[in-house]
Subunit: 433 residues, 2 copies
């Protein structure tokens, strides 16, 4: 890229698929990114925007005029435009809506009415609907009058006279059935429509479980309001999974890999601050035992082992729970079993590794008492890690706090504090101050 | 569940969708799980198996007879059967293959020939192919002769006389076009077919970028061998994302949330053992500075802060890189930029928090020298964390070691060792032993 002349780069860019251009932009450090973006024009521009991750998209859009934005919006999917407008300042949103034509605006306002993370925010309004009393032959002729059928259309949606959802007619069925049959005879009614208020992660689970390509969305009166397609669901799945991964390290799933230095530093610094509180809490526990450490310096050598093993065991439990919650595997009935299992796992692994470490430490420091204290502290800390690693995410989930985000910090605080307290406390009891 | 009689449970089970039964099994602790599984019979059994996560599926299957397995296999998708057979012991696999009819066997052997994590392992052989010289009218009549069109068929695949891939005819196009046109006139040739050896994560990226529902798979001679559908791709996306999350805590993405106690303990213990090595390495660094700690006990209080801040900062960088590698955002050209950025971010955040902590420590312990040593050690450790958090996954990736799995342990070892070494080393230089 660096070598070729700008004209060359431009020619190559304009020949690429929009999705590939978006990928290229996402993989490019900031300085080159702006140069590349300037070269993209017209229809390609809107198609590339449609493929970009939300953070980058917002960055590029915030540099544009409202009238240009309105023009752009006409070429994007409803749900994507709604997402974009919701991220822009209110003033800009109104200007963009004003600059749109009547039809685009009213369709868009319908989608924007629903929260971004619900079925309503995911849906498009480009449905093809038919009545149940038609014959397949009529349906085929009706379709032929269309210029084109929207992408990802695997079913025609059967609705009643007052627009209530009735069933689905798969194109697969339409193509192999006798044209003289009626829609009513051939339609599928087993697939329940998606309520417009359903959270997007539940929508994704339904798609995954049932292998849908598209699904109809209905309002509280059973009226068809739109449809959700698998491409948007794949984005939800990717984002949710990303969310768990990134949150565990205190970052957002929208984080841009190639964000500039200052932006990156500012974002990460918050997490460091929060963790500093954890670290200082742990340090003040140690501080209370200065006398004991002065007497037996080996304690200072061994104490990080107790804390770190607890942290690792706790993180494992936490990760399993965070994933299980995200997959919808956790219910009232199976929670207790999980907490008990984690306690038992903590006990078993605690005993095994406590024995190993205790024997090693006793030999190195020639002090069997020290080994005993170390072993006891490790068992206590690994059981604590298992139980709190399981209880914490369950409790946070109930308090509607994201367990992936907050779980790790609180857990480490617990395992550090309990680890140091158990080890140094027992040591004080044994050696005195 | 616990209250109702078994007959009630059974009646409810048999009315549920297979995907919902699979979800129920995955959310149930082991004892009840076996009871539920016993109740599922006939066709439902194979459909539920198809929806189960691999670990659970294997558990249920390993209790079955080869002849039952062969019968089961006939009702599942090729790629799923191939996956299952590859996990079973070779002896059982051969018995199952022997018990199958000729046609099933040869189709299956074709899919099993390819590795599970390539396009070949993901594909099904249920394609509908047509010739380019037909008219759409003939195609429509040809389709009507089918009993049914395979699920997730959004395109008919156009092939030449010798089975080479030529293009795609979307059903959407077929339904709205003039039936007198030829396939050649209306087909899409822009979508490149997927080579059978393409890794599954690359297949998933292609699907995500291009919003495909299905895609044709060709061998090295351009001959059509099958097609991949979005439902299997969604599983790959979910598994890959899961893999990053679970690996960071030393677990497998196939880990069953409700695995029994001993199985769970055995699996987790390996990771604890590996981390114990880390912890002991860090402890031996501290051990070398016993003299200094005896002189200034405050060092023992403050040293975990240095190590933990380094660990957190490094984990953030590592997580960003692991995700970027999984998304395919990293190339030769942008690596250096990333490493430099992470070093700068480490420097900036290091200076900020070093200043805060140093002032606080100086006041608490009434020793400005101690604050200075702490600040210097923190800056050194945060820069190290940034650089090694970025370099490590890149290096591991090049060595074909999974960065999500190995990265965390090595990184913590580095930040612990550098943290303790910098802090205690500088302290020794300042205070003497």
């Amino acid at each position: 890229l660096a070598q070729g002349s700008l004209a060359d780069v431009r020619r190559i860019l304009l020949k690429m698929e929009p999705a590939d251009v978006a990928h290229l932009l996402a993989s490019t450090p900031p300085r080159h990114r702006q140069v590349l973006w300037q070269m993209i024009e017209g229809e390609l521009e809107s198609e590339v925007l449609n493929e970009l991750n939300p953070e980058l998209r917002l960055e590029f859009l915030s540099g544009m005029e409202p009238s240009d934005l309105a023009q752009l919006a006409a070429t994007l999917d409803d749900d994507d435009v709604a997402d974009i407008l919701q991220q822009l300042p209110d003033r800009v949103t109104f200007e963009v809506l004003d600059a749109m034509d009547q039809q685009d605006r009213s369709r868009l306002e319908q989608v924007m009415f629903y929260a971004d993370d619900t079925a309503g925010g995911l849906m498009n309004t480009d449905t093809i609907t038919i009545r149940a009393d038609l014959t397949l032959d009529v349906v085929l002729r009706y379709l032929r009058r269309h210029e084109e059928i929207p992408e990802m259309t695997d079913n025609l949606i059967v609705v009643s006279r007052d627009d209530r959802y009735v069933g689905l007619l798969p194109l697969r069925t339409l193509l192999v059935s006798d044209p003289s049959h009626s829609v009513r005879e051939m339609m599928e009614t087993r697939q329940a429509p998606i309520p417009v208020e359903m959270p997007d992660d539940e929508v994704a689970r339904q798609f995954e479980r049932n292998d849908w390509v598209s699904a109809p969305v209905v309002d509280e009166n059973g009226r068809l309001v739109g449809r959700i397609t698998i491409d948007d669901v794949v984005d939800v799945i990717r984002e949710d999974a990303d969310h768990s991964l990134m949150s565990m390290a205190g970052m957002s799933e929208e984080e841009d890999t190639f964000a500039p230095i200052l932006k990156t530093a500012r974002r990460r610094t918050v997490w460091l601050a929060i963790n500093l509180v954890t670290a200082i809490t742990a340090a003040s526990v140690i501080n209370a035992f200065q006398g004991t450490i002065e007497k037996v310096v080996a304690l200072a050598v061994l104490m990080p082992i107790v804390a770190s093993m607890g942290g690792i065991a706790g993180t494992q439990t936490l990760t399993v729970l965070v994933r299980a919650i995200a997959l919808g595997h956790i219910h009232q009935k199976n929670q207790l079993w999980l907490v008990q299992r984690e306690a038992m796992v903590g006990l078993i692994n605690g005993v095994i590794w406590a024995a190993v470490v205790a024997v090693a430490a006793s030999l190195v420091f020639d002090d069997w008492m020290l080994g005993g204290v170390l072993a006891a502290a490790m068992v206590i800390n690994l059981i604590t890690a298992g139980v709190s690693g399981a209880l914490l995410p369950l409790a946070l989930e109930r308090l509607r706090i994201d367990p992936a985000l907050a779980g790790g910090v609180i857990l480490t605080t617990v395992t550090d504090v309990v680890g140091f307290l158990a080890f140094l406390g027992l040591a004080t009891a044994v050696y005195g101050t």
